[in-house]
Amino acid sequence: MEDKNYVSVIFDDEEPMLKAVAKIRESNQKIMDVFTPFHVHGLDKALGMKRTRIPIAGLICGAFGGLFGFLFQAWVFTVDYPLVFGGKPYLSVPSFIPVTFELTVLFTALGIVAALLIRSGLKPSKKFEPVHPRITDDRFVILVETEQNEKSTRETLQSMLSGVSNVEIV
């Protein structure tokens, strides 16, 4: 929290917070982030967030896992260690399908988790820096970016949200 170039607007309920998000966006202020103690339905839409691209990561990892699983078995059972079992030919595709399927699922799942961790910068050395001590408890916080002057932003926010009860602007 070295350069404080934002203003936090703190609510103790989700409904006024959702309304404020719409209001702030209408007034062309930029919302950096919103912190909530639980998932708030409709928040993504209210923030106008783009759809996550994580399914693409999942597709790529899954396709790779499926191909890898199939080709690895094909290589093992035909080239590396050919073995007759059950009177089947070396390259017996039906028996490869379960492993191929499982590796597709495994690679997809692990790939999605890895993509999420890398993209959001979560690593073991990451420190938890809460913008407000109670965001994991019962507070909802909107971070509004301040363009030039922190004070003027705070004033406009204050006048904009004057009707809302229990709102705190820091």
Partner: protein, 387 residues
């Protein structure tokens, strides 16, 4: 709120023309090509199974959603419910099989002297076969009738007891359906290859039925929305139907493969004959069924926004429905008809005829009441549903 589907004379005449035209085509094909009794009866059985499965799948759809007290489906619940009104007709059509028993099921022939079939005669004998048929249909018809009546009562009265009763009906239906759908698939399809058996067969047929039903519900919604009805069914509902079609198509493949892999691995002659007959003489339909029922919905519905586009989803649903027709074809024809089987005017005509009858019954039932059940307590949730 009181929007009615209008079963106009025009729709009625078109459907009757389709049914009669299909029947004439089939009769013409019989007279000209003389396909033999077993091929005719096998086609009757195929279409009985296909449309019975669509009707039963509708009842299953409702029972599963209601027992979980699901909210999202309530805006479109009248459509699967209309599907179930075909069951009495399906019963009459299935009774026709009585006249084709000897052509379809070789276990039903007298003086068999077949030790394997004599061992199975406690289950596979003519009187018990028809007792079971009557039992299955009585249960299905009575239960779905009770469910429909209950929904109709919920349209006129806001009494919560009608709502709570749905769960009881659903529970009874699901237990009865779980037992009978398996047993009926052994009776009507698996016993064609009477020497062969597969313990997963009932599940496999049942999931095929449910996928057909989902595809048909999607196609009906596409038709009704095209005709200007069902404005309250939004992209979110379509999305969920797409997800169900996607998921159950994959589940169908899972069961298909479970059956295939164990038989392929086990390599026991009495089991492998089933797949040998299909892979040698019915190669095209055997693999086509996999492509249409797995590859097409898997890649066609993988992307999120494609599941929300009704036109695209309806196209995939249509392909899947054709795929399951072919799946029934490869289940029934190799055993019942053998090398004389083929897809010709008889097959097309009879299926078109059945489709006409089916749509006639279903759309008439749909038109008899408003499209929304206005006293359903979950209706508000469904109308504002977000997928």
């Amino acid at each position: 709120m009181d929007e009615h589907f209008k079963f106009t004379n025009k729709i009625r005449n078109i459907l009757l023309a389709i049914a009669i035209g299909g029947l004439l085509l089939a009769i013409g094909a019989i007279v000209i090509f003389k396909p033999g009794a077993s091929r005719i009866w096998a086609n009757v059985l195929l279409n009985n199974q296909l449309f019975l499965g669509i009707a039963l799948g509708g009842a299953f759809f409702l029972a599963v959603h209601r027992i979980a007290w699901s909210g999202w489906h309530t805006a479109l619940q009248r459509i699967p419910e209309a599907l179930t009104s075909f069951l009495p007709v399906a019963f009459l059509l299935m009774l026709l099989v009585f006249f084709g028993m000897n052509d379809l099921y070789h276990w039903s022939q007298p003086d068999l002297h077949d030790p394997v079939l004599e061992g199975k005669s406690a289950w596979l004998n003519m009187p018990f076969f028809f007792i079971r048929m009557v039992l299955y249909f009585t249960g299905w018809i009575l239960l779905t009738r009770a469910m429909r009546k209950n929904t109709n009562a919920l349209m006129d009265s806001a009494d919560a007891k009608f709502h709570n009763r749905r769960r009881i009906f659903s529970g009874i239906f699901l237990v009865f359906f779980a037992l009978t759908v398996s047993a009926s698939s052994w009776d009507w399809i698996m016993s064609i290859d009477a020497h062969w058996y597969s313990t997963i067969f009932g599940w496999y047929v049942f999931i095929g039925m449910f996928v057909c039903s989902l595809a048909f519900i999607i196609l009906l919604i596409w038709f009704l929305k095209g005709a200007g009805y069902l404005e309250f069914v939004r992209a979110d509902h379509i999305h969920d139907l797409g997800k169900l079609l996607f998921a159950f198509s994959i589940f169908w493949t899972y069961l298909w493969f479970s059956q295939y892999l164990l038989i392929w691995y086990g390599h026991i002659p009495e089991e492998t004959t089933y797949f040998v007959a299909r892979q040698e003489n019915f190669k095209l339909v055997f693999f086509l069924s996999l492509i249409l029922n797995f590859v097409v919905p898997f890649f066609g519905l993988m992307k999120l926004n494609l599941k929300k586009k009704l036109n695209w989803l309806a196209a995939v649903a249509g392909i899947v429905l054709i795929g399951h027709w072919i799946d029934y074809y490869q289940m029934i024809m190799p055993g019942a008809v053998g090398e004389h089987a083929g897809i010709g005017l008889l097959e097309i005509g009879l299926t078109v005829c059945y489709a006409g009858i089916f749509l006639f019954v279903v759309l008439r039932a749909l038109a008899s009441k408003p499209l929304l059940v206005k006293n359903d307590p979950f209706l508000e949730e469904s109308l504002h549903y977000e997928s």
